[in-house]
Structures are given as structure tokens and as C-alpha cells.
Symmetry: C2
DNA sequence: ACTTCCACCGAAATCGATTCCAGAACACTA
DNA sequence: TAGTGTTCTGGAATCGATTTCGGTGGAAGT
């Protein structure tokens, strides 16, 4: 196995017959290095197959070339796409990505923030579970590295952010439902401690207001981002005396739970209940009927998040914001109400 | 922001009026520490809020408490689940997880292996894209840290592995098709450079052989793990003069591409063509008709992989192997042939 | 009273790289 | 020839922790 005698800068220096400082100067191409010395050092480096030890470099420089990424559930394709997009960009820039899994537990947000900061990451990519957690904000204030929020808004924190325009997509989606004649429209979304939830709710309200329709409180269910909440809420909505004729699921977990509930109840989607999923996953198109969605580019979110980090690491002092658009895509799951036969 | 003056072991020593070595001894509870000294040091640690710097510890100890994980596509829920399972276990054991994304490019396997080894990870969790790549094997031989293969088999390499019993599941699945009367059964699977592909093919062959049926070469398509291959292969199979009456997709990407092709062609799954997906994703149950699957516990794979790593890090010298079972689950996508009306 | 031993603690080396500082070698000018 | 600069190079300090080694003081043994 690894019988590689660990070749250090000292070994290179010995081999080349120069001082270690000279080796370092050559490798980091500092000024004041003669051609002869450079050649000898590079030859020795080549012969020994020397590669500097990143751990030692980190100790000396204070930079670890590592980024910490905090998400709720890495197995969720939404976050998977984000992480993938970010990792691609960061890898090309010479950074590695540490991942986490906070799994619905807000305290784990704090734990991972502290863990990653202790590990001296060069930056944090954050999809937090709540924006108002005091412990979390306190932990982030300790950070001396750049922070990038993914579709989150933590007031008073100096951080860049990728911000999705949920509003436009939802307004278009609900507007379409209204235009088709729907009057009782249900919404299942996350709690307002997350920007995405607030924006979706705001778009929902706005679309109804624009149509002069009242918001029926019993049709709006805000809860934790988990399939089970989508499932339970859907059953509740179906059981109302005056149930909705259309339903918007504001998040992919809700979509999953909601569809499961509709299948269990044998509800004919489109015919009996129009359905829209905010957030697109490819298989929704293969559903029968295909599910209308509000789409955004998840990988691009990760990509832009990484860009923002790199920009700050590159010296940009002020927080920057990158918008990501959303589009409503109509599919057969949305039909005019009362086409029940 | 971070106005925290960086509290080091030296600061603690000064505060407590002792030598740095004593502080270290207290913190790593070595022997030869008097109660008085321990108390003074711990008090100073408390007052200053001292936390040792992991980078310095890594340089000194050679251990980084970091594990590298190499997968093809972190956005794929299969790998997402694996990574999640592994991260949970490793986090609890004090390790952090570096992720990668090799994205169908075999050279990136090698790149990431070398990158992670250079970064001195304490272990590697590997879902390689090919088992016979000489460069990759050479790179892995350089490793002086434990290796764990995820559903892979690289002969001659000293590594533990999580091994899925694809064989049993596929035999049951194809056996069921045969029992229902299917005679022409198609298979779309990965290339034999990956154990999973080989085992699925072996199970497929075995099930047919057991039934005394010949393997029709034109019905077996082995190619790269990508939805597009599943899509194209499915179209080809449908266009055969004597097309299959049942189709097994050996991998979730193939399932996705294959289902898309069947939808495009308007094939009535179950009635016109029975369909089985090897690897389960939750939405397959919501498909119309629900898709039969060969299921395995992905998160458990990650969990066991992490356990194997920890076991080796804990001193276990010999490679260990952990089996993961597969189960065939019948759903309505599988019907007797010729129920076309 | 003198050795021996042990418990305890501090100084310094170490991990591997980078960088500051000082000095050597050489050229050029007055 | 002496003096002044350049240009290049080596030694040593540094990053922050761990660990070896050696030394001190006190207690026990003869």
C-alpha cells in the first residue's frame, strides 16, 4: 500500500540542494528567483513527484479551500440539484464541498454552522430551515467567512443570496386557475419563517386579490416541509364541506404527500380537482394526467450560489443578490372546474 | 463580525498560568495531570471559550476527520439517499463528508480519488463508474486510508464493500413475468464494468434459464447509465419485428428514460407491455398504473458503508462485506401478456 | 541522611508549508 | 578602490496543536 515515504518540501530542497524557502518561492512563483534555481527545483519536484500538503498550507494560510453546504435533505432532488450545481462550479475553482443534513431539526442548522466554522471553511452555502432562529443568527454573526443564502432572507445579516422569484410563477399559476373559473383554490405551503413560503403565499394572495376573490383561510395550510403535512392537509381540504376545486402544492414534498392522498381517495386529478405543483421534478410530466408546475432551475441556483461565494472570496466586499426566475407550465392536471364528467 | 481574537492553546496556558503542554494534556486527558491543574486549565478553557483548531490537529495527527464520497450524480435520489445515510452515521461519529460528482466521466473518478487523497481524507466511500479502469485502480492503490466500495467489486483491491443482492430480486421479478406467461422479456441495464449491472444480467439470464427459455440477444440492451440510453433502447425494442411483451429497466435512469419513451408512444403499460423497474423511487407507486419494482434500501447502503469505514478506522484489519437485500414488489404495471383489450 | 522512585509539569521538537529578514554575491558608479 | 545598489538565497519564525524528553519536588525506603 502507500509506501510513498511522504515527500515534503524539505525532501525537495535536499534533492535540489537548495533551501526550503527557495522551493516554496519557486512553487508559488514569487519574484526574485533565478532561472537556474527554478530549473533545479522544478526538476527535483518532478523527480520526487512532490505535491504540497493542503493541511499544512491551510494551517499556514488560514484558508482550507473548503465550502460548507447546509441543506435540509440531500436526498431531496431539489437540494440534490442545488448541491450538484454548486459542486460543479466550486470544484472547477479548486474548492471542495462539505455537505450536511439537518433533517427538519432547526438545532442542527446551528450545529452544522458551528461545526463548519470550527473547521475553518472558506464559505457557507445555506439553505436554512428558519430565518428567525436567534441561535442560528448568533452563530452566523461569528462567521468571518462569506455567507450565501439560498432562497432565504435573514435581515441584518451581511450575506449574499440567491433569490427565487416565486411570486411571479405563483401569480401566473393561480391566475390561470382563476381564468379557468376556479373560485375555491387551496394552498399547501411552508411556514412564513422561510422566504420561499412567504413569497408563494404572497403570490397566491395577490392573484386572488387581482381577481377580486377573497382568501378563504380554511383553504390555506401552512406547515413543516414534509410529505406528511402535504398528505394530511390534502385529506383535510378534501373533507371540507365546501372543498376546493383546485389545489396548489407549494413545495415538492407537499406535492408528493398531496398526490399520495389524492390517489388514496381516488380523486380524478384535472377532472375533479385541478392540481399545480410549485417546484418541478421530471416525473411530474409522466404522471397521469401530467402535473402543471411552477418551474425554476435548481442547478442554476447552486451554480449562482457558488458564483456569489467565489465573487466574495475574490474580493467583492458588498453582498450581492442573484435572481432566479420561475415559470408556470400548464399541463393536463389543470382544467376548468366542474368538468367532472 | 468575527472579532474573536483567535483564542489558542497558548492563550489558555497563559490565562491558567501553566505550560501549553499541560493544557493539551488536560484536554486529551492524558495521565499525569493533577486535579488542581486540571481545574485551573478547564476554568481557563471555559472563560476563554477555547476550541482547538482542527486544521492544526490534522497537521499534527495526520487525521482530518473527513471522508470523501464519490458518486456519479448527487442529484440522483439513489445517490442522494446513500449520501444521506452515510452522512448521518459519519456526522454522529465526528466525521464530515466531502462530496463529488463524476457525472459519467470516468476520468473524474480518478481526479476525485487523487484530490481526496491529497486532501488526506481518512476514508473513501466509492460508487465508481467502472471497476476495470487501470488509472483508477492505480490511484486507489496509493491510498493509505480505508476504502469502502458501494455495490462495486474491484478484484485485487483491499477494500470493504456494501454488496447488494440484485440477483435474488431480479430472479423473482423475471420469474414472476415468466409465470404470468411472458416469453419475450426485454432488459435494459448498465454495462458489465459495474457489478450491479452484471448481477442484474446474471439474474435475468438465470430466471430465463430456469424456465427453459432462451435469452434473445436483441432484447438485451446494455449501455451507459443515463436516461437517454433507456429512452433510445426502449424505442428500439418497441420497433422490433417481434417486440417484447415485458420490459425490465435495470436502474432508475433507465426507468425514467424508458417510461418517457412509452408515454411518447402511447404504450399502455401493463396491458400492452409489462414493466418492472429495478430500483424503487417513491413516485413509481403514484404512476398510472403503479410500477412494479425491485426494491433495496438505499439509505441503508450509505449507513452500512459508513459503518464499514468506521470499523476499519477503529482498527479492524480485514476487509468486511455487508449484504443488502432486494425485494420484488408486484404492482399493476405487470400483467399477463396479451390482455391488450 | 542519602538514595530511589514516582507524580507532575515545562521546554522544545514536530507536523509541512510560507514568509520575513538578513546576508552573500555581483555589478556599477564616483 | 571604496561605496552603493540589485539580485538572489538561506535561516529562522510562524501557523496551532501534540508529544517526547528531561527535570523538579516530595514521599518512601534503608
Amino acid at each position: 500500500m502507500g509506501r510513498a515515504e511522504k515527500v515534503t518540501v524539505r525532501a525537495v530542497a535536499e534533492r535540489a540542494g537548495v533551501a526550503v524557502s527557495s522551493v516554496s518561492r519557486v512553487l508559488n512563483d514569487h519574484a526574485d528567483v533565478s532561472d537556474g534555481l527554478r530549473a533545479r527545483v522544478l526538476a527535483a519536484v518532478e523527480e520526487l513527484g512532490y505535491q504540497p500538503d493542503p493541511v499544512a498550507q491551510s494551517l499556514r494560510s488560514g484558508a482550507t479551500r473548503t465550502i460548507g453546504c447546509i441543506v435540509r435533505d440531500i436526498a431531496n432532488p431539489l437540494f440534490g440539484d442545488i448541491v450538484k450545481g454548486a459542486e460543479n462550479v466550486l470544484h472547477d475553482a479548486g474548492y471542495s464541498l462539505l455537505v450536511s443534513n439537518t433533517d427538519g431539526d432547526i438545532r442542527r442548522d446551528v450545529d452544522y454552522i458551528e461545526l463548519f466554522l470550527r473547521r475553518r471553511v472558506d464559505g457557507l452555502l445555506l439553505s436554512l430551515q428558519a430565518e428567525d432562529n436567534a441561535d442560528m443568527i448568533a452563530a452566523l454573526r461569528q462567521a468571518s467567512c462569506p455567507l450565501v443564502l439560498l432562497d432565504r432572507d435573514v435581515p441584518g445579516l451581511s450575506a449574499s443570496a440567491v433569490l427565487c422569484d416565486h411570486f411571479t410563477g405563483i401569480v401566473a399559476a393561480v391566475g390561470h386557475l382563476v381564468a379557468l373559473g376556479h373560485r375555491r383554490i387551496g394552498l399547501i405551503a411552508g411556514q412564513p419563517v422561510i422566504r420561499a413560503s412567504r413569497e408563494r403565499k404572497r403570490g397566491f394572495d395577490e392573484a386572488l386579490a387581482k381577481a377580486g376573490l377573497p382568501v378563504a383561510p380554511e383553504l390555506v395550510r401552512l406547515g413543516p416541509y414534509a410529505a406528511e403535512f402535504g398528505h394530511a392537509s390534502t385529506l383535510e381540504l378534501l373533507d371540507l364541506a365546501d372543498p376546493p376545486t383546485a389545489l396548489v402544492a407549494g413545495g415538492i414534498q407537499f406535492t408528493m404527500g398531496s398526490l399520495r392522498a389524492l390517489h388514496e381517495r381516488g380523486v380524478r386529478i384535472g377532472a375533479e380537482l385541478s392540481f399545480i405543483s410549485a417546484d418541478d421534478i421530471d416525473w411530474l410530466e409522466l404522471h397521469d394526467p401530467p402535473i402543471s408546475v411552477v418551474k425554476r432551475d435548481h442547478m442554476r441556483m447552486g451554480h449562482l450560489g457558488a458564483d456569489l461565494l467565489l465573487r466574495t472570496l475574490g474580493g467583492e466586499a458588498h453582498p450581492c443578490f442573484e435572481p432566479v426566475g420561475t415559470t408556470y407550465i400548464h399541463r393536463a392536471s389543470v382544467q376548468p372546474p366542474g368538468v367532472s364528467r
